[in-house]
């Protein structure tokens, strides 16, 4: 047994009190999420972390946080050029296949709902083939036939997963997942969250496949910069950074308008959850074991397929409330709210 470091970390990449959690937030719609997905299993395995797939609807999140629906369209031409080159560079850098799809943007609600139906251990089997189908093989991942075939090839019951993706409860599940992602501070795709067993209420959130080297450091016990975990010490009145936020959308300049402006098949209208929903202990339909009979009702919320205890994200949200074991103030200081510190308790009943 290696002796833990001062922060509870050990050289082996596992915390002294158990494996760290790595949450991967993604939408198939994002090329950078695809690029991140090609690496995330290796990253988790290298550091003995438990990996959790967290699909969410990027368009829904954008609508909620007020980002342009397709931020790429708002970029100046010079930035579009760089972004186009950048995704190819990353693919080449990592040696993974990449081909900009002929269908873009893509309605990804169905494949995302299919992933949500799966228990955590089964998700990887479906996530990676779908990412590859869209971002390397130029397949239409809004097509029932394509999705069913991909799932079948992955050893899953493709037709059933596709059919269930049309059900209201799985539509709601995707809305809930998106809402939770937003509550956890997700601001784009991909995002990675590293959670220490010793300080689960202070997870580190990283945005972008280009932050994976920092994710790896966090999985080795690094606790981020001087302000991570101490949001009350963030500088007062931080002005908008002079460098525009990197945008995560690909270049479309080369594509004809008829392709880039294809309307989504279904509206991706996103309604915020009613306040009471976020406070429910579990608001997600139970995971479907693809080989087992379907659960009779989504409200059962049994999770027989998880390896080891997996706290619900609602529980995580509750634990994140200031005033937890670290003795944080019950009201965040003004500086926190000024910089948009996510207050996951804001929807909690009094």
């Amino acid at each position: 047994v290696t002796s833990p470091g001062p922060d509870g970390s050990s050289a082996g990449g596992r915390s002294a009190t158990g494996p760290r959690d790595l949450l991967f937030f993604f939408d198939f719609a994002s090329p950078f999420a695809y690029l991140g997905a090609t690496q995330v299993e290796g990253v988790a395995a290298r550091h003995g972390a438990r990996l959790f797939y967290r699909p969410f609807l990027l368009g829904g999140l954008f609508k909620q946080i007020g980002t342009p629906d397709v931020p790429f369209f708002a970029m100046p031409a010079a930035k579009q050029r760089h972004t186009s080159a950048d995704m190819v560079r990353w693919a080449d850098h990592w040696g993974v296949p990449f081909r900009f799809p002929s269908r873009f943007p893509m309605n990804t609600t169905k494949p995302l709902r299919m992933v949500l139906q799966l228990a955590e251990p089964d998700r990887a089997r479906l996530v990676h083939p779908i990412f590859r189908a869209y971002w390397a093989e130029d397949r239409d991942i809004s097509s029932d036939d394509v999705l069913a075939e991909i799932a079948l090839d992955a050893g899953l019951e493709g037709r059933r997963l596709v059919a269930m993706a049309r059900e209201t409860r799985w539509k709601n599940a995707l809305r809930s997942a998106t809402e939770r992602a937003e509550q956890m501070g997700v601001c784009g795709a991909p995002c990675f969250m590293v959670r220490e067993p010793t300080r689960p209420q202070q997870p580190l959130l990283f945005w972008g496949q280009d932050r994976l080297l920092l994710v790896e450091r966090a999985l080795q016990g690094w606790q981020g910069g001087p302000f991570d975990g101490q949001p009350q010490e963030l500088p007062e009145d931080p002005a908008p950074p002079t460098r525009p936020a990197p945008e995560r959308w690909p270049a479309l300049a080369a594509l004809p308008e008829s392709i880039t402006r294809v309307p989504l098949q279904e509206p991706t209208r996103f309604e915020p959850l009613a306040p009471s929903r976020a406070a429910q202990p579990l608001d997600e339909p139970s995971h479907t074991n693809v080989r087992a009979p379907l659960p009779s009702a989504p409200e059962e919320n049994t999770r027989p397929d998880h390896r080891g205890p997996l706290p619900s994200l609602s529980e995580e949200v509750t634990r994140d409330v200031p005033g937890g074991p670290e003795g944080a103030p019950s009201e965040p200081p003004a500086s926190m709210t000024q910089v948009g510190f996510v207050r996951p308790d804001s929807d909690e009943p009094e």
Binding site: M75, V88, F206, W222, G224, L234, R243, V339, G340
Partner: protein
Amino acid sequence: MVPRVDFFYDFSCPYAYLAHTEVETLCARAGAELVWKPFLLGGVFKAIGSAGPAMPPSKARHNLLDMYRWADHIGVPLRMPAGHPNRTVLALRAALSAGTELARASKALYRAYWVDALDISDASVVRAALDAVGLDGAALLARAELPEIKDELRTRTDEAIAHGIFGAPTFIVRTAHAPDGDLFWGQDRMMFVGKALGGWRAPAPGAGL
């Protein structure tokens, strides 16, 4: 040809500050020539309309934590001055006035902005920062007011726009493989700069991999 990196920067950008702490080592390791290229970031934003809307709070929060994480990761100090972003026109002109000492002046002004957290729109701050590294701050400030120096900053900013620059820091890497230069934006792309100096070049966008 000797590989060459043009390093485009403004003092107001924390990521350009972070990059400047590493760019010399990166170039030295690759045997590349490094050319310091100050420009007025605000001028570029104005010209190409890239300032953009305000960031959503969650993104702003990530961005703020992100710069401190990078500073911690590479092991350099970072302190944001209260008034950030401060005007850098005077400091940029003073740096240009230093001529062959441009790099030394730039490093001194970066230190004032991002280590000492001072307002470098203040002439006395600029003078003290330049004096501290053995330059004649008062003389450089006087020179900064000359029309040719003002013109030079304008010209350099126009040059940045012509190169397709839209943010800072930007690296234009010229090698035998890319004689016209490949553009890399962001301190988080410096490993690509290093690879490019070693002859790496990814396929053009649109080509299948």
